[in-house]
Symmetry: D2
Subunit: 311 residues, 4 copies
């Protein structure tokens, strides 16, 4: 990919222009409401923050308001584990797009309990199982790792969101038992599910979310402290998985329209990166039929067109 | 993506070093033999050719020997059609990874006859159907388009290969009838299949194959003549589809290990590009369990590591 | 099963009473119209004929009008082949209910090209393939066998119906090619399809249809001539397959409500037998959502309740 | 079905002859060992008991030894519920054969959480859920109902077997959560699973098992006490479901070879009935590849041939 031309890097102008342009268009789609917490969010919230390699933020709208990042956090749990254990983790989770809606057990059955990739729910559950095997206090490790990535102490699990998800999480309980029936879970199922639902309960602002992913645009190094959060070759690989698997059954569409690695969550957030250039977080709660933020997808599509990255 | 550092662009040295390194390693996998033509190829053939933006070739081994490019040609038929008709083609074929082995009809059934992407067999068949609707002489248009891309008149369909594929192509005949039962084929099935099997019968050398894809690394323009073979935004999109869907059920693995858009064929060829930098073709007939060239995949993995492209 | 009590065998009274009762109820469902021939039938046709072991007919309504028996004929092609070749035919077709709508290829893929039973379309196609291997003139053999069963020369293939089915039979062409890709078809596909579509084109009246199945209630012997059409143990087995597989995805419902072996066709016909007692044919073209005659199913349910057969 | 001829009803002779004949043949297949309890059973156990309508037992071998009846008990839980609530239970469980191995979730997904029939695990779980909604003390009701059917107080749940099944029952926990995600479970999942695993833990001898099912051959009435355990029309329907769905993915094969309603369990037991004639229980722990008793299936096949029941 060629570098962005300097005359194009006036990120603030582009972001503001697109923000207002999209506000004028009809916003469509439903807010996720399978737990009350998510359903109560104002559907018209819209925030954007881009952080460049000089740690400068370009932002607009509701960029400084916390939202539930949900599945976006699955990238960070993967990085923590992958950095620690290396390539052996791919024995227990694959790196292929799933090709079916994100909750389907059919593919899991065909693949004998090996989830297709670490970003579908069953895959993230297996990652949590491996974190528990690896760390004495996986919950603390996970929180601290995310705080280091974000360079902020103000990152918390939302225990009540986690409890609410847990009490409605029948599909995920079905999944973990199904995977266990193939022998691909090694710890107590309740403990694994607790960690999984905590992971999904994390809240961030757009600023924090864009900061949290900046190391993946920076060869694995935290851009504030210089800490290596994940070695360079592995950062590259996490980016490849985001590119092919980051958007449920719309991964190809995102690669097609946006062309950048990214990850979405049902809370309406999307984080995406351009290696060597920036990390960007967008939040808008209305979801399209594939479960991704309607306005977030549109914004990123137009943003990459406007900034002319060839891909 | 950052540009390659100048001290790294000594492509010939890297290619030669990797070529010899891989020759020393055991070559594994089976040669496709579902038609006699493919089964008779010497399994130890190994050729490489990289063409850079100055049209300079860097090559080694059996780089100047014709091989059956098979599914690699599906990228070129897509470009011809997409350039002519634009975005409306996505009404009839999707852009999502398939998530199941390349011949499966299950997904096609779930998707009501809309193939998951233009590179699986059912998708390429629908592309051929649209080419027939679009052009008076689609066979000639296709051949001429590929000749223009390759800047060579020495590109031919192999009618005997096509006939041999045709007489064994029960799965493809099943597919086209299945798609037709959903209404997603508009021309005579025999005519569509004839074009499809001709498309797969094309033969190229590694030099020709790398030249044939160079326009996709050059914003859609032929690097010899300056002709626009496909407009820039569409070239970007074809590249995105190659990245997520170019390697059957191993697309994620390729994005993960190589990180470049590419397309493989059961003849053992792989073509891959780095936009703004180069197009590279590798040929080695032994296939891994996913149907991609074993040595070709290894070569490209080590090549991108050696040339340090970040993404 | 206990024999019917003599005071209950006044079949004519029961049939007439139920006929009028059902005529008074609203008739619902659509007539099959995927070929014009079927779509043009008067949807309110309603005929019944029961033939007992003394060859006496009890009938009412449109019992003497020809209709397209469609899939009902698959029982007769099975009998012809099974009688000739015996148990070896089960190497190539199974005897299990299909559990999925009658056209699905999914199950066929899972079962490696072995159709679940001889009454789903793929199974009947494999039976036709075996008939071609077995007989010099399978078309004539089939017609003559059915004429012997029916004890009538007035049984014909309807060539124009067959041609019409053929030109719309994309799913069946897909199926046969799919099965062929697994090696489970041995003759020319066109020849097999020709025989299959001819088989489905047969027309009978209710009288003829009830006569045609009477041998299956008579230990395999024609009740007029005493000819053995199929040996006793095999007749028993064909009846078992009708019981578990005769009604597409409604086989369990039919066993549950009616409890007799039977076979339905999309022309709105159903034939059912009570071994040692009778064969009955019902015709009413409106189909329920599972593809079986709405009124035919209701009639047979109430008929078996009224005649108190325990099971 | 014609009545058995009187000279054929010397059941004891036939049973003894077939017993010895089968003992001479090689016994094949594996004993279920997914829980230690089942795995420790002597694989060569072989017992038979037929009970006729005069309550006379004809038996041989290990007919008086308790074994784990497992899924056979699912017929009795269905009868208890169906007798109480009637036809409305079919809103929540279907009556169609499953067409896929007994543990598959694929079909359940396609059917939106409605199990295909009450004898596959998901179906029996939904029946347990309805029993809990219906009765104050469902465990006691179930035990008492089975004791009434068996006319014996010596019928117990085996709590340690149930606990052992529970701790290995990941697929069943997956199933219940999956069904719950579609809304088709109304009570606490743990409570439903407890009842389900208790149900499967019941132990009986062949004598008790044949007695327990005799009411289904007797129009729903207990043959000892005259009590109505289920009304006649519903007994007929339960028999129809046993005929089409009683043998996992081998239901068609059983209907084909034996032709009687029956139910098998992974403990190696099979119970089958001939309405108006008898109930028969066979026990032999080695299972064929479909999960049914190898020797039990053979015995019943030869037994029905020997007794000449036509259907």
């Amino acid at each position: 990919m060629v570098p962005l031309r300097s005359e194009m890097t006036n990120y603030q102008d582009i972001i503001e222009e697109l923000y207002h342009k999209l506000l004028e268009r009809k916003n469509v789609g439903e807010v996720a409401d399978y737990i009350p917490k998510l359903g109560k969010v104002d559907p018209e919230k819209f925030g954007i923050c881009l952080t460049d390699m000089d740690n400068i933020h370009y932002s607009i709208g509701d960029y400084d308001e916390k939202f539930s990042i949900q599945s976006i956090a699955k990238v960070l749990s993967l990085c923590l584990l992958y950095n620690k254990k290396g390539e052996e983790i791919w024995q227990r989770v694959d790196v292929e797009p799933s090709g079916t809606p994100f909750n389907s057990l059919v593919q899991l059955e065909a693949d004998k309990g090996i989830p297709r990739n670490p970003f579908i729910n069953p895959g993230a559950i297996v990652i949590c199982d491996m974190l528990i095997s690896e760390f004495e206090n996986p919950k603390k490790e996970l929180r601290d790792y995310i705080r280091r990535a974000t360079n902020s102490k103000n990152i918390h699990f939302n225990e009540s969101t986690a409890a609410s998800e847990r009490s409605n999480g029948f599909m995920n309980i079905a999944s973990i038992n199904f995977i266990r029936s193939f022998g691909n879970i090694q710890n107590k199922l309740d403990e694994v599910l607790d960690l999984y639902f905590l992971l999904c309960s994390i809240e961030m602002t757009c600023i924090e979310a864009s900061q949290a992913f900046l190391f993946l645009a920076n060869e694995g190094k935290c851009n504030h402290t210089g800490d290596t959060l994940i070695i360079k070759s592995r950062a590259k690989r996490v980016n490849a998985i985001m590119l092919t698997c980051g958007f449920y059954d719309e991964a190809g569409e995102f690669a097609f329209r946006v062309g950048l690695p990214g990850k979405s969550g049902v809370g309406g957030g999307i984080v995406s990166i351009l290696p060597g250039e920036f990390s960007i977080a967008v939040w808008s709660p209305r979801l399209n039929s594939k479960g991704n933020s309607h306005r977030g997808m549109k914004f990123l599509e137009e943003f990459t067109s406007a900034t002319s990255s060839i891909f």
